[in-house]
Structure formats: C-alpha cells, structure tokens
Amino acid sequence: MTSAPLRLWDFHGGVHPEQHKLISTQEPSQQARLPRRLILPLHQHIGEAAEVVVEVGDTVLKGEKIARANGYVSAPVHAPTSGKIVDIAEYPIPHPSGLSALSVVIESDGRDQWVEYSPEQDYTEVNPSHLRNIIRESGIVGLGGAGFPAFIKLNPGSQKKIKTLILNGVECEPYITCDDMLMREDPQSIIEGMRIMRHALQAEECVIAIEDNKPQAYESICRAVKGIDGVHVALVPTRYPQGSEKQLVQVITGKEVPSNGLALHVGVVCHNVSTAAAVYRAIHLGQPLISRLVTVTGEAVKRPRNLEVLFGTPIEEILQQCDVEREQIERLVMGGPMMGFALHDISLPVIKTTNCVIAATRAELGLDRPVMPCIRCGACADVCPVKLLPQQLYWHARARELDKAQEYDLFDCIECGCCSYVCPSNIPLVQFYRFAKGAIWTQEQEHKKSDQARQRHDFRLMRIEREKQEREAKRAKKKAPRAKAAPPKAPPVDGEKMAAKMAERATEARESAAAARKTEIQAALERVQAKKKRAASNNSGATTGTATPTQPGNLDKTDDDASGSDSNQKVQ
C-alpha cells in the first residue's frame, strides 16, 4: 500500500532548464522498423568489452548470445534479430571520443525469429544469486544512460542489509521522455521487475521516484502499485539533476552517499525504471536485453516520439521513421542536452545506453555566444549539486594546476553541466573539468610507467651486480678449494622485496670479499648461506631493514630501507 506520504529531502543546487518534453509525448510509443543491417558494438556498457563468440558467416536467431561477458564488470551482447553475421570489425561507435571499436554486424533475414528461451515460472522460489545470474546473462545494464551492469547493483554482498530500493523514474534531463512513456504505457512490467529486484536484494521497502512534470506516469504507476506492501510512489519537485543517483538517494532518504562510496553503503540501491522492466522480461519471459525505448526528438524531427528500437539499428533509420529533415540538423545529440554528447555521424547505431536522440536545429540551440572572462559571480557554486567551487576548479584547471584542482575535489564532479548552464560568461566549465581529469589520469599512468621503468632499471643493476658477484665467488672458490659452498644462487626475482634482499646479499658478500680476501671468504659464504636460509624460512613477510654500512665506491645500492618503498632505493 502506498501509505503515509513519504518525507522528501532537499539537495543542493540544481537548475530548471526548459523542459522540451511535450515534443515527444504527443504520440504513443511505437515499434521501430526492422533494419536491414545492425551494427552491435561489443562495448555498450561500463566495464570490459564483451568477447565475441560467433564468427563471420554464422547465422543467429533473435536473442542468441553473440558476445559473452569478459570479467565481472561486463555484459554480454545478444543478437537483436535473426540473421547472418556479415562482419566483425572496428566500426565507429556512439561515444564522446568519436572512436571506433570492435563490432558485430548482422544482416537481418527479415524473419525476426526468436531463439528458444526458458522463462522462470516463479521468481520467489529462485535463489537471488541465480536471479542475478540470469540478469547478468541477459545482458542487462542500467538503462538510465550510464550502462552499469545491473546484476552488480543487485548484489548487496553478505554483510550489507538493503533497506530501500529506489526505482528512478525521475528523468530530469530535458527532452527525454522514454521512461515517462514506459511508465505510462507499461507500468506492470516495471512493477514486476521491481518485485524481482526487491527479492534479489531482500530490500525492506521500495520507492518509485517520479518528477512532478510527469503526472500521467505518476497516476499510472500509482494504479499499478495498489495493494503492494512497502511500496511508495514519490512525486518529487522537478529539478535537474535530481535523477543523478546520489542526489536522488538524498532526496528520498536524506542520506548523503559518501564520496567514493556507493548508495549501497547507506543501505540503498537505485535502479532505473526501464532496467526494472528489462529485468521483468528477462526473468518472466526469458528474453535477453535486445531493444529499448528511445526518444527521437528535437526541432528537426517532424514526428517526434518514442520508438522501441533494436540495438544496432542505425540512428539514421529511426530518424527517417520520424521524418527528420536532414539539412535542418545542426547538432545530433545522444542522451539529454545537459549530459549527452554530440554525434558526428548519422549512421552510428543505437546501443544499450541510447535513451534519446535529439536532432536539434540551429534556432533551437541558439546562436553561438562568445566566451567571456569569469566575473566570479558564483552562480556556478550556487547550482552545483555536489557543492563544489566550480570557479576555483576552473581557475586551477585552466592554469593546469592539477594538484590544486584535486584539492578542490575535482573528482567529485559529476559533470552534470549545471555550472556551464548558468554561467553568464558562457565558459564551458565542464569541458575544463573533463580536461583536468583526463590530464590527471594521463599523469598517473605516466607515473606508473616511470615507476615500472625505474624498477626494471634497478633490477638490471642488481642483476649485473649479482653476476659480478658470482664471478668473483667462482674465482674465490678456485683460489680456495676448501670452500664447499656454492656462490649464492639468486632465487627467482619477484618484486621489490626480493630485490632488496638480493641487494643486501650482494652487498654483504661483496663487502666481505673486498675486505678480507681468502681467509674470510669462507665465513662470508657461510654468512650468505645462513642469510639465504633465513630468507627462505620467512620469505612471506617483508624483510625488515637491516642497515648495512655503506661504503662509498663499494656499493651500487644503499639498502637503508628494504620495506618496499621504491623511492628509498637510490641508485648512486
């Protein structure tokens, strides 16, 4: 039952951009036409790209797996229709980088014939981990736009108790209406999906959050949840970016998800309403994720509406179906106008994260406005939902002061675009933050590389030293036949710890050899051997720093601290 009205909380900042939602809600959603060719990138989600399991020339049925998940954070890809694999190669993908990625091309046979599938009769009798597995194998990812594999967010782990499952029907970005239409037209799938998710998570309560600019969706969902215990439908005041997970968790529960943390950490899991519907289809019908509702909108579109589109369908085809005037298009955006990215080409395919395609005209976007200097008005800080200081971040990003940018919590930026939206100087602030983040990542990678290079260099020096040592020891052995022990043989080198040990050994051995010639050689070797035994007996623990006196000109390496800190091992 939808009991007492839910207490709602507030989140900082946010903006009220013009909605443009009515454009695409005038007609009911429809099935998109079956395309002749489908291009299916293997990377349609967050995580590792899927691994192809078909070959060129294979025939596949609708719903057949064509690529399997590669690792934990990954999702398989299924054939959206029946047909023949005609190519497996790099194709341009809809991605902000504009790059190409490995894709499977299917030529449709027009029959659209389903593979045999096996629905679960009663999900309540199925173990949650098995449910997660079906969801994983169905290739379901978050359909709100991010595309994070859904099964991971249905796995709370053993210790975590999930109190609230939030279904996100907020759809706060302007233009997009696919969740709205789904909630209006098929609330039952969403609610059934929600029940399954709730079972998988063993969540106490469910909250379906809908912004108050979608009264019809709200009505429809309210009707569908009648009689279900522990389910609330929350009508939240419209404000962007309320649909962002952490913001929504705050609005619904009042809890602040920690930076670097997940909603899970405050006992909440958040899924999109479309994801819930996809889960329902996977469990009850046994159908994998092969299509989604896509909003086709923008002023260059004559018949804007929502279409159920098979993944891999070229955007060109759905634009045609909605009567787009090609020459009218000034900008083609995938996703919403606040966070979506512009596509360079009309032939790119629809993928799992394509919730909306905006074919915007020049008039719609407004004239290019000149970028002016920052006047420090602070409008950006007022609207930042993460309470960052966008101004300071901007100065530091611009000056390439990456350390300072990080001090101002650059990586907490969710790139929602509110700051750029309100900036009276039209500074592309988000772009500066993306740039700074990219630069920091590059820097870190370079650090890693140079660390590795230094390690390799250190090992090389050590190896040379060891070989020298061995030769000397051999010589010593020849000269002193009484010495029984063989020169120390280096154990397999496997890291800094061993490197330190070897350096130590080499140091000691060499020291003694230089200091006391023949008579002391035996003792030295014995010592070395003793050391080796000791090392062998406790090689699991870190070698503690045994300070060896450093003799200038005698040592290549000092060994003050062998606890594994690379920077302490100076090469003289």
Binding site: P17, E18, M338, C374, Y408, D412, P428
Partner: protein
C-alpha cells in the same frame, strides 16, 4: 558531412554578463530618480560624461591590448563602473573631475590588471578614492537638497556650470554648496557639539519630529533628502536580490554590521554618536551595500565568505566614519575588504557532497 560535436551541455540558460550588468544599472534607477529630485540635474550630466569617458577609455585600451572591442564594450561592465562613479561625485563637479576619475578607474584599476574579471579592486571605488585624495575640495563641495537650498540651478545652468564653470549672475558657488550631513556631523562633533545640536543646525529637527512618530527610537533617519536616495538604492537592491542577480549575504552583512556597531555606540552615548538609522541612510551606505560591495569580481565567493566580507565592510565603514579622517568610508572599507577577499576565499570553502567533516 559530419556534424559539429561540441561538448555538453547543449542547452544554456538565457543569461549573459550584459544582462547582469544591465539589470544592475536598471536597479539604480529609483536611487538616481531620488537623487535628481533632491539634488538637481547635475548627477544626470555627470553620468553622461562618465559613460562617454568609460566607453572611450575601455575601447581604447582594448584596442591597444588587441582584444575584441565589441563584445567587451557591450558587456556593460564599463558602463556600470561609470554610473557608479558618477553617483559618488558631488552633483556640481566640474567635468574634468568626472573624466579623471572614470579614466583612472577604467584604465588603471580595470584594464591594466587584465580587464573584466581580473581586477582585484573595485574600479569605481579606486576611481573615487583617487579623486577624494587628489581633489578634496572639489569632492566635498556638495549642494544641499533642494528643499534646504537658498538657490538651486536648473538643467541648463547645471550643465553650463559643470562644463564651463559659469554660474548665472548673482549666484556664487559657495552659496550653492554645503557639506554633506556626514561631513557636518563629523566637523561639529569635533568641535564638541552633540548630535542633537548638529541635527538642529542642519535643519533636521522638523524631519525628526515627523519621523519620530514612525521610528521613535531612532529619530530622523538620515540627512534630509539623503534618506530618500538611500531608500531608492535599497529598493533597487532588494529588486536585484529578488531577481537573483545578487545574493542577500553581502548587503545584509554590510548593513547589519554597520547597524549593530552604530547601535552599540549610540546606546552607550547618544550625545556623541549618530543613530544607527542615520548611518544606514546617510552617505553611500545603501549604494555601497547593494551595488558596490556586491561586485562579484572583487568580493568573496562563498556564501560564508560573503558574510565575513560584508561584515568587514560594515565595521570598517563605521570605524572610519566615526574615528577616521574622512566623513564617509564605504569606498575605503570596500577596498580594504577587496584585499581580504582572496584570503577569505581560501579559508571559507563549502563542504563538498559526500565529504563528511571529521
């Protein structure tokens, strides 16, 4: 043909610097109206001279700095600086005073520091302070509000005087001018008179009895005429807050701290310290709190920082007005706090989402 792929967001709010600056100028209109009503047409002529000077200097320097002239000229910031300076000058200032002040503000205080957005000090206040220090006599020769004046000038006469320093026959400059209420108060208090005696001398008594019925504690609000000008700026300022062009933090903190400081001393010794309302509605308090201290370029950025910044301005104003060498102190207080703004910003950051304090 591939489409352009600029980055998100693809939808922008209908705002611009020009819009912000024009709204601020618009908000000045009620105050300017009151000004004209009580002090004659001089201020309008000053504003015109200042505008021409400001835009000319801005264009010249932009050209020399090889920056695009039109976008910066049309951003409205130079125009706003010009209007603000003109409002701080005596209505009968000679034309060259306005020109020097505005040119100094635009060229030295703004453009030489890098132009819009880069100036550490409020250009209007730099220009004003420069004039006050360099031309003390011209800068303190105010005319009394029309109701008190023995003689006042019409539009043509005012223009003639400002441009050519010629007065109609039988009128002397000294007859026209008079010290401001703040100035007289300071002078008389220094001579050992009490506030009431000063007020009586300034012809404020009847005003006081009129307003006493409304605000019995504080008596007369400000100087005659001045409170209406202050009221005009207050009105415009409140409208700016309503329009979300400025936030309430700086004006409230500035006026609040000025009010608290002046109340404190007024209650301790009402004979020698002016009423809080007198402080709030005299001189440039309202203009400063709503239009000058709120200049975002030179103010503190965070909300908590803005409160500290505003309090600093209010307190400095009171200290300088009461014990300093100048009758009014908004300009000095603003410049002093401009210096502190980067420091304040450094220490007052908001707590970022998801970062629990601990």
């Amino acid at each position: 043909m591939p489409f352009n792929t600029p980055t998100s967001p693809h939808q922008l709010a209908p705002t611009s610097i020009t819009r912000v600056m024009l709204l601020v100028i618009l908000a000045l209109v009620p105050g300017i109206g009151a000004y004209v009503w009580f002090f004659g047409w001089g201020v309008v002529i000053n504003i015109c001279i200042a505008l021409v000077t400001a835009l000319g200097c801005e264009a010249l320097i932009l050209k020399l700095r090889q920056r695009p002239v039109l976008p910066f000229l049309s951003d409205g910031s130079a125009a706003l600086t010009a209007v603000l300076i003109a409002l701080t000058l005596p209505p009968l200032s000679p034309w060259w005073l306005t020109v020097i002040g505005v040119a100094f503000a635009i060229i030295i205080a703004k453009q030489l520091y890098g132009g819009l957005g880069y100036n550490p000090f409020n250009p209007a206040m730099v220009g004003y302070v420069m004039l006050l220090i360099s031309f003390p006599r011209e800068m303190t020769s105010w005319i009394p509000p029309s109701a008190l004046a023995d003689s006042s000038l019409g539009f043509i006469d005012t223009a003639l005087f400002i441009l050519f320093s010629t007065l109609p026959d039988g009128v002397t400059f000294d007859a026209l001018t008079e010290a401001t209420p703040l100035d007289s108060l300071k002078t008389h208090l220094a001579l050992g008179n009490t506030v009431d005696e000063v007020r009586a001398q300034l012809g404020l008594e009847e005003e006081a009895s009129r307003i006493l019925s409304v605000i019995p504690i504080f008596g007369a609000i400000g100087g005659k005429g001045w409170e209406w000008v202050g009221g005009g700026f207050l009105l415009g300022g409140l409208w700016l807050i309503y329009q979300k062009v400025i936030s309430w933090h700086i004006p409230v903190a500035t006026l609040g701290s000025l009010f608290i400081a002046s109340s404190l001393f007024y209650f301790i010794d009402p004979e020698h310290y002016a009423t809080p309302m007198f402080h709030l509605f005299s001189g440039a308090a309202m203009l400063g709190a709503f239009f000058i201290a709120t200049d975002p370029v030179t103010a503190a950025a965070s909300n908590r920082g803005k409160i500290i910044y505003g309090c600093g301005i209010g307190l400095f104003t009171y200290v300088i007005r009461t014990w300093g060498g100048y009758p009014d102190a908004i300009a000095f207080a603003v410049l002093l706090m401009n210096m502190c703004a980067p420091l304040i910003d450094h220490y007052f950051k908001s707590s970022v989402f998801g970062h629990k304090k601990g």
